[in-house]
């Protein structure tokens, strides 16, 4: 597949709106994976959250990949497409010609030809990864990689925003449960 730019301003607008219009991270990331798979005409897309202690990439959302492939086993940032840990995008243009994969056999059986993996960052810290899977070899353009990096930064912001929103909702719910009698009793 050629390396003409696929992520234009319209794709960017649609993706940005999907981020802005949802306060539910799973719906938002679900829409993002669908939009990216659909508009880039690729096999699938996944969004992971990084568990900082173990280095495991935990799946937040995915589209286009089979249940069997998604349940292949734990994905570790250090073993799978390693440079993500260093905060850099990793492009595997041809799956037949790489030793970067943790599950090469499963990827081949899934019919994946190429993978692009972009770190999701928040204030410079890795908090996840955005991965795109193509059915064939993929010469993604530098401009599209750059666009994906910007997009991943936005996903990082949205992840933290929804986390803070969840925390705020929990605080509100706890405060609502405090009966005025108890509140008075503790000197309110």
């Amino acid at each position: 597949m050629g390396n003409a730019e696929k992520i234009d301003i319209d794709v960017f607008k649609a993706v940005a709106r999907a981020i802005a219009h949802s306060d539910d991270l799973e719906i938002m990331t679900g829409h993002l994976t669908q939009l990216l798979a659909g508009t880039l005409e690729i096999k699938g897309c996944s969004i992971f959250a990084l568990e900082p202690e173990s280095g495991e990439l935990e799946l937040l959302s995915s589209f286009g990949l089979s249940v069997g492939y998604l349940n292949k086993g734990p994905v570790f940032s250090g073993k799978s497409i390693g440079d993500i840990k260093k905060g850099k995008p990793v492009i595997i243009r041809d799956l037949k010609d790489t030793d970067l994969l943790q599950y090469p056999q499963e990827a081949s059986e899934e019919g994946i030809g190429a993978i692009v993996s972009v770190p999701i960052k928040f204030y410079g810290k890795n908090i996840g990864a955005l991965r795109l899977y193509h059915h064939e070899q993929w010469d993604i353009s530098e401009q599209d990689i750059d666009s994906l990096l910007v997009l991943a930064e936005n996903i990082g912001l949205a992840m933290m925003y929804t986390r803070l929103l969840n925390a705020l909702k929990e605080v509100k719910s706890t405060v609502n449960e405090v009966h005025s009698v108890w509140f008075n009793a503790i000197g309110g």
């Binding site: 709106r17 659909g38 005409e41 900082p52 249940v67 349940n71 992840m159 986390r163």
Partner: protein, 155 residues
């Protein structure tokens, strides 16, 4: 007449869900007077404003691929239904709900339990620390909202 036990089995195609399915089969499969509902709420395709014409065009071109992927999930759910049959549940006692989600998954489950009057739920406790940090715990939200429901936890 309503079955003595109406079981809800939320299913999201994860390894823990397979464990929950095995538990449902071994614990309830051989019993009479039980009904079980397999429940999956999928993310519907995003709505795109008409002004984003080129995106709409690209998506429309690939819409059949996207819809096909969602239909594949429904087929996978049918395969799970088959496993319940093999586990001893009668065909007439197995129900499948495959619906687009309109709110967070915990709220979808809570609403279904209330509407369907399920009195048993088999739910897994997501092991992923990072994903739970960002999305919140479906398990905690569901369990704290339910009343008069037996909760079986798979972890």
């Amino acid at each position: 007449m309503m079955a003595a036990q109406k079981i809800l089995l939320p299913y999201n195609f994860k390894t823990l869900d397979q464990k929950a399915l095995a538990f449902a089969n071994s614990t309830f499969g051989h019993l009479e007077d039980v009904e079980i509902t397999l429940f999956h709420a999928y993310t519907p395709l995003p709505e795109i404003e008409a002004e984003s014409t080129s995106v709409m065009g690209k998506l429309k071109g690939d819409l059949s691929y996207l819809s096909q992927k969602i239909m594949q999930l429904e087929t996978e759910l049918k395969a799970v239904e088959e496993k319940l049959l093999q586990g001893g549940f009668a065909q007439s006692c197995i129900h499948t709900v495959f619906k687009p989600r309109k709110k967070d998954i915990a709220a979808e489950i809570i609403e279904f339990v209330s509407d369907d009057k399920s009195n048993v739920i088999i739910i897994n406790h997501k092991s992923g620390k990072a994903s739970r940090f960002f999305t919140g715990s479906v398990f905690s939200k569901v369990v704290s909202a339910l009343k008069d429901t037996t909760v079986c936890i798979v972890s």
